[in-house]
């Protein structure tokens, strides 16, 4: 597709459930990023992939968060045993070049997770 696609757009989970969020980046984009955005705040970095390699996961808040990009295209962010504080919008972004130093990021519309 022409843009970054994320699914589902909305997810409601009961506390303790596992969730999986999917990101389809722009074809050919080397870099893929996951961000978490709380209401009224800016996006906070979670993790970065260069092709299939997860080069930085320093932003993942706990070991309940796991991300993968096995074939260097589609990525999945998994959250195990969800907690209420996990409620946020999860944004995926991709860029053609390596990293985001001087590269423009193209964002998806996000997946809004609500944990009850």
């Amino acid at each position: 597709g022409a843009g970054v696609s994320q699914s589902p757009r909305y997810k409601v989970a009961k506390r303790g459930q596992d969730v999986a969020l999917r990101c389809d980046p722009i074809s050919g984009h080397v870099s893929l990023f996951w961000y978490q955005q709380a209401l009224g705040q800016g996006p906070e970095f979670l993790t970065y992939f260069q092709n299939e390699a997860q080069l930085d996961k320093s932003g993942l808040p706990s070991d309940r968060f796991f991300a993968e990009r096995p074939e260097g295209s589609v990525s999945t962010l998994k959250i195990q045993r969800t907690q209420q504080e996990d409620s946020a919008v999860y944004l995926c972004a991709s860029s053609l070049g390596y990293g985001a130093g001087a590269n423009v990021l193209t964002f998806g519309a996000g997946s809004r997770l609500t944990v009850l």
Binding site: G42, P43, F45, L55, L91, A93, G99, G101, G110
Partner: protein, 110 residues
């Protein structure tokens, strides 16, 4: 933590007026970007300014960068209702990510 911080947090103006929002950051950078986010949407890239540039224009947007003060400003001229959105500055982080500020919520009243 967020390196870039926008000011003001919220701004409300009439259609046709100019809107100015500011961004301050903490470390040395080689470029700075501005993004817009409409409600319920992802972020959209507006403009990138390099550290050796002081000013850059794109349509009704004017961005300045003062590396000595570690600050940038975004000016939107002749604002329209469709400019209503949140605006974020972003700088390269310690690894390979972009670090975003907390944003300025701009409301343009018709």
């Amino acid at each position: 933590s967020q390196q870039g911080e926008e000011d003001p947090q919220a701004l409300s103006i009439q259609e046709g007026e100019n809107a100015t929002m500011n961004c301050s950051y903490k470390t040395s950078i080689n470029n700075l970007q501005w993004y817009r986010q409409n409600s319920g949407r992802g972020l959209v890239h507006l403009i990138l300014i390099r550290s050796n540039e002081r000013e850059k224009h794109s349509g009704r947007l004017r961005v300045t960068l003062d590396t000595s003060k570690k600050s940038s400003s975004l000016l939107i001229t002749a604002s329209r209702a469709a400019d209503t959105a949140s605006y974020f500055c972003a700088v390269p982080g310690s690894a390979r990510q972009l670090t975003f500020g907390s944003g300025t919520q701009l409301t343009v009243l018709p």
